[in-house]
Amino acid sequence: MWQGLFQIALTLLPIGIITPILGKYLAVVFEADPSTRLRSKSVLTWLDSVFSHSERAIYRFSQIDRDQVMTGWQYARAIFASNIVMGIFVFILLITQAGLPFNSTGLIAPTWDTALHTTISFLTNTDQQHYSGETTFSYASQVLGLGFLLFTSAATGLAVGIAFIRGLTGRSLGNFYVDLTRGIIRVLLPLSIVIALLFLIGGVPETLDPPITATTLDGATQIIAVGPVAHFESIKQLGENGGGFFGANSAHPFENPNSFTNLIATIAMISIPAALIHTYGIFAGNTRQSWLIFGMVFGFFIISIGIAAMGEYGGNPLINAQLGSSQPNLEGKEVRFGWAQTALWAVATTGTMCGAVNGMLDSFMPAGGLVTLFNLFLQIIWGGQGTGTAYLFVYLILAVFLTGLMVGRTPEFLGRKIEKPEIILASVVLLVHPIAVLIPSAITLAFPETLSGISNAGFHGISQVVYEYASASANNGSGLEGLADSAPAATGLWWNLSASMSMLFGRYVPILALLLLADGMSRKQPVPMTTGTLRTDTVLFTSVTAGVILVLGALSFFPILALGPIAEAFQIHNL
């Protein structure tokens, strides 16, 4: 057991080191303080000039006025417009893939609903896959279509997070097109190149050659799928996308061959959302607060890992009883990762809204199922690229509102009063998730035969259905699988369309609310701090916020958790 825990600790250690560095870098990229310029003559200044030149070329080519400052509405409109254009482009690409080049396996067009679901899924940074990549999409579709969205959807989320932080700290929101360009050129592209190189070193293939045909030892012919995997893999992890090149995702030996690539992939998932908290601290000029928030989220994270890992280490009592010994639960796991690395990954991938998997989540013990579902419900245990950090602050604002009243003042956050518009917009963010998860789940479970095609009856079936929508609405993308959600199945159409609705709803409504919230906050006259002001950078307030997050999150989803993983746990452990 200790070896497993040591592996987990070893993976988490670099995050503490990366967070302040990357957080500072993000603050510089998005100009927390425009006067900070790189002064020393070094490789950094050389890189800076390369970045600046490419940015300027892009602005000139697409006629972007980079000094134009957007309001909340304008920023949101720019996001919607650009996302619609990108979505249409990719949808057409997927539908016409049969006639396009780089289709070495001669794949035909997917069904329209699969193409639509896939487009929306990658556009919203969800990357829920109701297909197997190697047998559905050509290299062109994967690299030019989906690979393109891996970058833009991550950069869109990052831009929203940055715009939100700017508004919260009293700055104007900035310009979406500039933020998008900077996010890709200065953050995602350079980092994913580095990570892709590390993956290449680790043994991940990067090729346009067609699949390899091999003859196995017992003489059978086996076709081994390869492709331009390494670069796809790096942005998939870094951008919280999670959409695998292969159907088996990061459990596939070409996506994630060994412990080294597993380590890199895990760190890549967590690094940006964690760093963004520190970026907030720099923007707000209060790194004490950002470290406290970081600590809170890290605490949630560690506890989640603990629960999931203990569940897996304890193994399945029904099987252990037959074996007559205590074995960890290794069903659905890659032996090269073991219970500890798989549990850590599961918590990280559901917490960060990455959604890549290196083992079968469906096979987790109920404890793991509970934790992963709860992560999807809360959406802040690191959270999605950019949006996760924003959700975190929505909870903070709600906590400020409740506790601020209790000190006898109109609640204020960073000196700005929390009033009706803020509560309405924060509430919208809070409401979207239950609506997008519970309502379609209820409809699906009301018509189990016609709509769902659930492989497991009973409590686990409930977990499967709820997980699918929670994953869609949270823009996570992982799945408990076992649902007949792929196109040839009769229920595929329902799953594709209903999940698409949840993804769209769970992505764009909160983005609009967040931007309007930030816009409103940026326009408020700040009130000076006095001893009567509630300080938000204290251990007390941070603990209260943690309580508010747990209570609000738990209250909304406790009945579902009770009928899903909790009931399942009682059943298995025979309590």
């Binding site: 009706k420 309405i424 509430s427 009301a446 018509f447």
Partner: protein, 83 residues
């Protein structure tokens, strides 16, 4: 005695209720009954015949009431001054 609240009784009750209210609520009630004509068979089908037709009508109305309450709450959320 088992089902004294058959749909007709509910309609009678609602007729009394509408007398107490203005015309607007009458229209809402009529609409909800109209919608229920479509909704109730769906409910009946969903339950796989474990409930009677009357019960499916009652459940349909209950569903409409729930949706109406939800819409009402959205109204409160977006225009709290009116309440």
């Amino acid at each position: 005695m088992k089902h004294i609240l058959s749909p007709t009784v509910i309609e009678d009750l609602s007729a009394i209720a509408t007398k107490l209210h203005d015309r607007k609520s009458t229209r809402y009630l009529l609409w909800s009954f109209a919608i229920n004509l479509i909704l109730a068979p769906v409910v009946y089908a969903a339950t796989g015949g474990t409930i009677s037709r009357e019960q499916s009508y009652a459940l349909g109305i209950l569903g409409i009431v729930t949706v109406a309450l939800s819409l009402y709450l959205f109204l409160v959320i977006f225009q709290p001054e009116k309440f």
